[in-house]
C-alpha cells in the first residue's frame, strides 16, 4: 500500500478545515440561538392579571420527576386557584409533560436555560418567580 497518498489526503483535509468558519460560540459574549420548541425554565401564563392555573393537579400527577408542588385555594368568586405552585429545578428533567398535560394552557416553557444559583433553596421556584414576565 502506498503510504504517501493517505498522508497527503489528510493534509489536504486539515488545510481545507483551516479556512472554514469556526463553529465555536464565544458563549458569554455571543448568545446561542435555541431551538423554536426549546424546553427551558417554566413560566405560568397570565390572563386578566391572574395566573390561568386552576390547580387541577394534572401536572404534579404526570410529572415523572415529582418536582411540582401545587396547593389549591378558593378565591372570592369561589373559583379554584393555585395558592402555592412550586417547581424544584434540581429535580426537574425538562420533559415538558406538565405543559402537555395542562388542560387550560396555564404553563409553558421558555428559552431561558441559565438556571445556576448559589444556594439550594434558590432552585425551588415559587409561583411569583414562575409567573410570566411582562
Amino acid at each position: 500500500m502506498n503510504p504517501i497518498t493517505p498522508i497527503m489526503n489528510g493534509l489536504k483535509i486539515t488545510l481545507s478545515h483551516m479556512f472554514k468558519k469556526p463553529i465555536t460560540l464565544q458563549y458569554p459574549d455571543e448568545r446561542p440561538k435555541v431551538a423554536e420548541r426549546f424546553r427551558g425554565l417554566h413560566a405560568l401564563n397570565v390572563s386578566h392579571d391572574k395566573a390561568k392555573c386552576v390547580a387541577c393537579y394534572l401536572c404534579p400527577t404526570v410529572c415523572p420527576a415529582k418536582c411540582i408542588t401545587v396547593e389549591a385555594g378558593e378565591d372570592q368568586n369561589h373559583d379554584k386557584f393555585a395558592a402555592k405552585y412550586e417547581i424544584d429545578m434540581l429535580r426537574c428533567i425538562f420533559c415538558g409533560y406538565c405543559v402537555e398535560a395542562c388542560p387550560v394552557d396555564a404553563i409553558r416553557m421558555t428559552k431561558e436555560f441559565e438556571l445556576a444559583n448559589y444556594r439550594r433553596e434558590d432552585f425551588v421556584y415559587s409561583k411569583e418567580r414562575l409567573l410570566e414576565k411582562k
Binding site: 489528510g10 493534509l11 478545515h17 465555536t24
Partner: protein, 351 residues
C-alpha cells in the same frame, strides 16, 4: 574605532553582542509565539478558535502561560536524584538555543561603515571582504542536537518515576535512531557543497536551492528531524495517553517550562537548519541589492516550515513504537544510504 582587542576592532565586539542579543530575543519570542500559533492553527484546523480571551484574539496567551508557570510551586520528588533532576532542564534547554550561533540569517550588512555578516559565529576580513565562519558548522549543530538527548534521559532517570523513565528511554532510543538517518540524509548535501560551513552552503544556493537537487534528502531530513525533536507524529516520549507526560511528568513550574521551551526552540532550530541546508537560507530575489531582505526571506522560510510542523501535528496521529523503529531503521536509513550512493554516482559522471 581605533581601539583593538586581540587584533580585532571594537566594532567587531559590539556587532557580536548585538547579533547574539537579536538572535536570542528572536528565538525566545518565536518560542513564545509559536506556542500561541500552534494552538491557534490547530484550533482553526479543528474548526475551533483557539485562545481568544487573553488580549485581542488571545495574543497575550504566551505571556499569561509564562507568568502562570513562573509562579507555580517547584516540586522535587522525595526519591529523586536532586542534582540530576535540577540540571536536566538546563541540559535540554541550552543546546537548543546555542545551535543558533552558526546559522546564517542574512548576508553582509553595512552599519556605520563597518561590514557585519549576519551570522553569530562569523568574522569578516575587511581587506578581502571574505566571510569566515565556523568551518564545521553543520557538525556543530549535529553535536548540539545530540546533547539535547542527555537532558531528556537525565530527566527521565532522575525523576524516579516509571512514566518518566519509560519516556526517557523511548526518547533516547528514538533520538539516536533518527539522528543516524538525519545525519546520513545531509551527507548528500555536503557531497554537493564540498564544505560543512553553513555560510558557504547558503552562498552556493544563490542559484538553485538544494531542495531541487536533493528532494529525497530534504524529505528524509525533515521527517527525521521531526522525530528527533519529539514532535507529532513521533511524540512517543511524551505520549500523554500512555505515559502521562513522559520524561517531564515529575517536573513543575519553571523547570517544566524549560523543557517546553527547549522543545519549541529545537523545532525552530531544525526549521532554520532545514532552511539553511535545503531552502537557500537567506537567499531570494533582489537580496543582492538590498541586504536587509536576507533576514526577511530567512524568517519567512523558517516560519513556513514551522507552520508545516504544526500542520502535520494537526493531521497525523502518533506512531506505535514498533512502527517508529521500523520506519527509522528499515525505511529511512536505507533510503538515506541509497540517496548517498546515487548522489555519488551522478556526481562522479557529471564531474
Amino acid at each position: 574605532m581605533g581601539m583593538e582587542i586581540f587584533g580585532l576592532p571594537m566594532m567587531y565586539y559590539i556587532a557580536m553582542v548585538a547579533k547574539v542579543l537579536v538572535a536570542f530575543v528572536f528565538v525566545l519570542l518565536t518560542v513564545a509565539y509559536s506556542t500561541y500559533a500552534e494552538r491557534k492553527i490547530i484550533g482553526h484546523m479543528q474548526v475551533r478558535l483557539g485562545p481568544m480571551r487573553t488580549g485581542w484574539h488571545g495574543l497575550l496567551q504566551p505571556i499569561a502561560d509564562g507568568l502562570k508557570l513562573f509562579f507555580k510551586e517547584e516540586i522535587i520528588p522525595a526519591q529523586a536524584s536532586v542534582f540530576a533532576f535540577l540540571i536536566a532542564p538546563l541540559i535540554a534547554l541550552i543546546p537548543a538555543f546555542i545551535t543558533f550561533a552558526v546559522i546564517p540569517f542574512g548576508g553582509v550588512i553595512e552599519v556605520a561603515g563597518y561590514k557585519i555578516p549576519l551570522q553569530i559565529a562569523s568574522y569578516i576580513d575587511t581587506a578581502s571582504g571574505k566571510v569566515y565562519d565556523l568551518n564545521v558548522g553543520a557538525l556543530y549543530i549535529l553535536a548540539m542536537s545530540s546533547l539535547g538527548v542527555y537532558g531528556i534521559v537525565l530527566a527521565g532517570w532522575a525523576s524516579n518515576s516509571k512514566y518518566s523513565l519509560m519516556g526517557g528511554l523511548r526518547a533516547s532510543a528514538q533520538m539516536i535512531s533518527y539522528e543516524l538517518s538525519a545525519g546520513l540524509a545531509i551527507v548528500s548535501v555536503f557531497m554537493l557543497s564540498g564544505t560543512l560551513s553553513l555560510n558557504e552552503i547558503v552562498n552556493q544556493q544563490s542559484g538553485l536551492w538544494y531542495v531541487f537537487k536533493q528532494p529525497l534528502a530534504f524529505c528524509l531530513f525533515f521527517i527525521c528531524s521531526l522525530a528527533e525533536i519529539n514532535r507529532t507524529p513521533f511524540d512517543l516520549p511524551e505520549a500523554e495517553t500512555e505515559l502521562v507526560s513522559g520524561f517531564c511528568t515529575e517536573y513543575s513550574s519553571m523547570k517544566y517550562a524549560m523543557f517546553f521551551m527547549a522543545e519549541y526552540a529545537n523545532m525552530i532550530t531544525v526549521c532554520a537548519l532545514t532552511t539553511t541546508l535545503f531552502l537557500g537560507g537567506w537567499q531570494g530575489p533582489l537580496v543582492g541589492s538590498f541586504a536587509l531582505l536576507g533576514p526577511v526571506y530567512f524568517v519567512a522560510k523558517v516560519y513556513a516550515l514551522i507552520f508545516f510542523c504544526m500542520w502535520i501535528r494537526a493531521t497525523l496521529p502518533r506512531y506505535r513504537y514498533d512502527q517508529l523503529m521500523h520506519l527509522g531503521w528499515k525505511v529511512l536509513l536505507p533510503l538515506a544510504l541509497v540517496n548517498i550512493v546515487i548522489t555519488g554516482i551522478i556526481g562522479h559522471f557529471i564531474n
